[in-house]
């Protein structure tokens, strides 16, 4: 799934995914600082600060890494190179880097101009990347993981379209016939498609490949592959599109499906053949526990906003961010090694190994900060004073992640010369 493709020219240049991976952690830093300096987000998921934080995390961090990873995985895992990868990755990366802070600023400060420019910039800049990924996905191999990526991709398009609509609505810029009667319906669909359809289903599809790969575990049982994808996809579909009384059926199926995925992943990891301690393994386990916790908080009829907010934190920081960091900690050192090894004039002599690019100690320090940050942030909706340490710790965890990865890239560059 990473490395060169089957044909020598299929693997993308290292810079295509790398720029995404190196930038993403700094959005964790931004999110952490905002969470610390404006603890107003603890008031509820629709507070301006919470909206800004959501997008720093979903677009700035998760979207950045996931789109970067697609540029690597589609050619290599699915045998489907993305057309025009260099310009498309450069433009997509630039638009995420500039558009996300603008959008977040607009949401935070309630500035219609920033909101619209951010949304517009994201759409314009991501369009070539999305078209290229769509073309690659269309003629990719018929693998279970590719099916999951296709579902996630469609959900991302829906999320982005609804996001643009919501930004237009908030900024009061929608043409008359386009205004929703009840914007809350758009909001719910936008959040559901983004979190469940894009983030969760993509992680599930990638997990099928990387969980057995990293810890030498048994493969996922058959029911947890394509049948589970069918359940999750139908569940999201029903939750989004069915008549109101049926939506809850979709939500329940979604919660059960995701919980089952988390449990089976934890079970596979328990049965792993490779016994070595690994920060990535710890982050994935944390991620699965975070997913179970998030699903429980969303699904159980717990009273009140704080529980929902804590569920959101568990989903974004506990589940998605944990597994994404665990992955990037492996992908960047491996790709650095791989490209050095494959590059001209660097074949002989002792090259650094993966752990020289990013040591276990460095990764573990980062993971610990992330864990403590998570604990504070999950508790903050109930005890707002914790927003400050939680935010600062998240910023620190992001900075260490960014530093670790930048160090790996520098070591690569030094050997390249």
């Amino acid at each position: 799934m990473i490395g060169a493709g089957l044909a020598p020219e299929q693997g993308p240049p290292f810079t295509a995914p790398l720029r995404f991976f190196l930038t993403a952690p700094w959005f964790l830093v931004a999110a952490g600082l905002l969470a610390a300096f404006d603890p107003g987000w603890t008031e509820g998921p629709l507070s301006p600060t919470a909206l800004a934080l959501t997008h720093l995390l979903t677009l700035g961090f998760l979207g950045m890494v996931m789109l970067g990873a697609l540029t690597q995985m589609l050619p290599v895992l699915a045998g489907a190179p993305m057309p025009g990868i260099r310009p498309v990755a450069t433009i997509g990366h630039a638009s995420l880097t500039l558009g996300t802070p603008l959008l977040a600023w607009g949401l935070w400060r309630g500035e219609p101009a920033a909101l619209l420019h951010g949304a517009g910039l994201l759409w314009l800049g991501l369009a070539p990347l999305l078209i290229s990924a769509g073309l690659a996905l269309a003629d990719a191999r018929r693998l279970d993981s590719v099916h999951a990526m296709r579902v996630a991709f469609v959900a991302l398009l829906a999320t982005l379209a609804l996001g643009l609509g919501l930004a237009g609505w908030l900024a009061d810029a929608l043409p008359a016939g386009w205004r929703p009667d009840d914007p809350f319906i758009w909001l719910r669909a936008h959040a559901l498609a983004g979190l469940a359809g894009w983030v969760a289903i993509l992680v599930v599809g990638v997990a099928w490949q990387v969980v057995p790969m990293l810890q030498v575990t048994p493969a996922y049982p058959a029911w947890a592959t394509r049948p589970l994808l069918v359940v999750l996809t139908s569940a999201v579909g029903v939750a989004l599109l069915a008549p109101a009384p049926w939506r809850v059926v979709g939500e329940i199926a979604l919660a059960l499906g995701l919980a089952a995925f988390a449990l089976v992943t934890l079970d596979l990891q328990r049965r792993r053949k490779r016994k070595l301690a690994s920060p990535t393994l710890d982050l994935w386990r944390l991620g699965m526990l975070g997913l179970i916790g998030a699903v429980a908080l969303f699904a159980l009829p717990l009273p009140g906003e704080p529980a929902r907010l804590a569920g959101g934190v568990l989903f974004l920081v506990g589940f998605a961010a944990s597994v994404v960091i665990g992955m990037v900690d492996k992908i960047v050192p491996f790709l650095a090694w791989f490209h050095l090894r494959a590059g001209p004039g660097t074949s002989a002599g002792a090259l650094p190994g993966m752990k020289d690019f990013l040591s276990d100690a460095a990764a573990r320090g980062q993971a610990r900060l992330h864990l403590v940050a998570l604990v504070c942030l999950v508790a903050a909706p109930f005890a707002p004073a914790l927003a400050v340490p939680g935010g600062l710790l998240l910023a620190a965890a992001g900075a260490v992640a960014g530093w670790n990865l930048a160090r790996a890239a520098r070591l690569y560059a030094r050997h390249r010369r």
Partner: protein, 149 residues
Amino acid sequence: MTETGDATITQFLADDHNRCDDLFAAAENAVSVRDWASAAAHFQAFLEAMRRHFAMEEDILFPAFETRAGSGGGPTFVMRGEHREMNGLLDEMGAALERREQDAYLNLSETLLMLMRQHNLKEENILYPMTDHALAGERPELLGAMRAR
């Protein structure tokens, strides 16, 4: 390996990948607790399994596929290149084991695992199904020849 009748090439070689993975893990687990004697034995078994797997592909499957598909410069070329990379790492791991350098071994084994698993995924997802398709007629003989290795 027991006879599995009309198994596919994909199935047969993917099973062999799993066997190699298990031996890899056994060797690494022994190194991680500094059980050098058992590490050496497991590593030797792993090395032999890998060499046999490479030989089955490079001496039997790939030539047959290249003849049929006429793609000497395509996928099999990349796979052979990655075999060479893996052999390089295996040599270095053997040397680290001999010197009982735990950190060096674990650094190399981490790298080998990533290289090996992404290589295996490409073979299992793309290349083996291509060979099953292209070589359907000669499959029993090819499987027989590979089993005899």
